[in-house]
């Protein structure tokens, strides 16, 4: 418990002024423009959109600038902002098969239909700091392929290709009448269905999911995964407008999709086949999409008749701790005044200490040296 404390208004005001000056830094250095952030720090923008659970690059850039690059603080600003807007409704599900693919790789099929497109990526680089980097210099023009581009072409997912032969489980569906869960409207009730789990993971903290995904690879809920496919690119968003009676294309967004393929030795009911974990995240966020897919898969242990042995399988543990805004709120609230609580505990400790000392004296001198040594 913490209590309201009066006083300190002036100190708070001055602290905010000081902080605003720190935000600006040396005024001889040009101030950050939003387009510099959206254009040149796109991974930070994507992370804030994903975990803020709101797709709006300019807004994410504003939040990053205001938060001085503290991405969790920026995510907090985004989450707070979204509560000020009305909800028009639910979009039609995006079609990742129709994605305008900028990057697509598979670690399971060398010659997958549609090809492996490396696209813009950190991969295959040496991770050496470039001391000669010139931020003002125009980059080399990327080469263009002279192949004909069909904007309506669909690129099959790896899971569709394997699915035809029955070697992999089909896409997950619910029984008729299932209503898609929405944790922004109804608090999670455990155990919860895979749709709500995926919503939670999609907005979950990248670091938390990365660590959990890593734990499954290291043997805590062993899952033996392959990166079946990772694709990144632009998809169209459509919204069914009641007053018009049809789906309106409202714009586009970039997403990363990951199909993780896992060995499954079969059960009494199901023949041996590959199973899948699924990841889908706003923007270019491969690490997050892969982690999400690993954790999605480990959370499915019960449905697949696997043994329960690790934290990454525990949906209450995973889903209750994945949200970095809830987490930071509870951890950082410890900074708020707890003076009364602490006084109460201090009194309690004093009382216990008195009782302890009295006990020691009663037991006589023999025990005293031992006690000292133990300390």
């Amino acid at each position: 418990m913490y209590v309201a404390v009066k006083g300190g208004e002036k100190a708070i005001k001055n602290a905010h002024t000081l902080f605003a000056a720190k935000r600006r830094g040396n005024e001889n250095v040009p101030g950050l423009r939003l387009d510099q952030i959206t254009e040149q720090l796109s991974f930070a923008v994507d992370r804030v959109m994903g975990e803020g659970s709101l797709y709006d690059p300019e807004l994410a850039a504003m939040a990053i600038r205001q938060a001085q690059g503290d991405l969790i603080e920026a995510i907090f600003l985004i989450r707070a902002y979204r509560t000020t807007l009305p909800r028009f409704g639910y979009a039609e599900p995006i079609e990742t098969g129709k994605m305008a693919i900028e990057r697509r790789i598979s670690a399971t099929f060398k010659d997958l239909p549609g090809g492996q497109v490396l696209g813009p990526t950190f991969d295959y680089s040496h991770r050496l700091i470039n001391f000669d980097f010139d931020a003002e210099a125009a980059p080399e023009t990327p080469p263009s392929s002279d192949e004909d581009i069909d904007l309506n072409a669909e690129v099959p997912r790896v899971s569709d290709i394997l699915g035809k032969s029955g070697m992999i489980e089909p896409d997950h569906r619910f029984d008729e009448g299932h209503e898609t869960g929405d944790l922004t409207r109804t608090p999670i009730d455990f155990p919860t269905d895979r749709d709500v789990r995926l919503q939670n993971l999609a907005r979950g903290d990248e670091g938390f999911l990365l660590a959990l995904g890593y734990s499954t690879q290291r043997g805590y809920a062993r899952s033996h995964p392959f990166a079946g496919e990772i694709r990144f690119g632009e998809v169209e968003v459509e919204f069914f407008a009641e007053e018009l009676g049809f789906a309106v294309p409202i714009g586009t967004m970039e997403v990363t999709e990951c199909q993780m393929i896992n060995q499954f030795k079969g059960s009494a009911k199901a023949p041996p086949a590959f199973t899948r974990g699924y990841g889908l995240v706003f923007g270019q966020a491969e690490r997050k999409a892969m982690s999400m897919a690993l954790v999605d898969r480990s959370l499915r242990w019960k449905e697949l008749g696997e043994e329960f042995s690790a934290p990454a399988q525990d949906q209450e543990f995973v889903l209750s701790h994945s949200d970095n805004i809830q987490a930071t709120g509870f951890v950082e609230h410890l900074k708020l005044p707890h003076y009364v609580d602490f006084q109460a505990e201090l009194d309690l400790i004093r009382t216990m200490r008195k009782e302890f000392d009295a006990q020691q004296n009663e037991n006589g001198d023999d025990d005293a040296p031992k006690m000292e040594a133990a300390q």
């Binding site: 994903g50 497109v117 263009s144 089909p170 922004t184 407008a241 409202i250």
Partner: protein
Amino acid sequence: MTAPSSPDTQAENAEVIARQRVMRVLAQAPDQQLEDLYEQFADKPDWTFARKPETGLVMTRGRIGGGGAPFNLGEITVTRAAIQLESGEVGHAYCQGRNQRKAAIAAFFDAAWLSEAHKQSVEANIIAPLEQEQVTAKKDKLKKAAATKVDFFTMVRGDG
């Protein structure tokens, strides 16, 4: 199998597809460019708001595994508006983002495209050129991506 659609339904579908194309092009147009096109548009008919611009959220959805049951992915900012021309046509706009002026202009062009008097002009001066630019930009992006396609050749293990 779906029953073969009647000529009426087919005509209706074609109308919806044509309107979706217009709304798609307008929603994806850069804010400033749409503003400039509005300023340059000759003989603007008078209009009033049928619905004032309003910014809100739409919850986007994915599908489990890519093609399965829907799940909620996260929200997107959207601004909507509706405009009525003096001749009666009502145009709608749902544009990604928070730019209310853009949504109003998009709704205006949607309304003008619906009116016999302005349809051709909107198609020729607004929609077709914007669409051409959008297609070219998308193709350019995909061509650059396509240049990073991998040509694999398999090395035989233990050979040499």
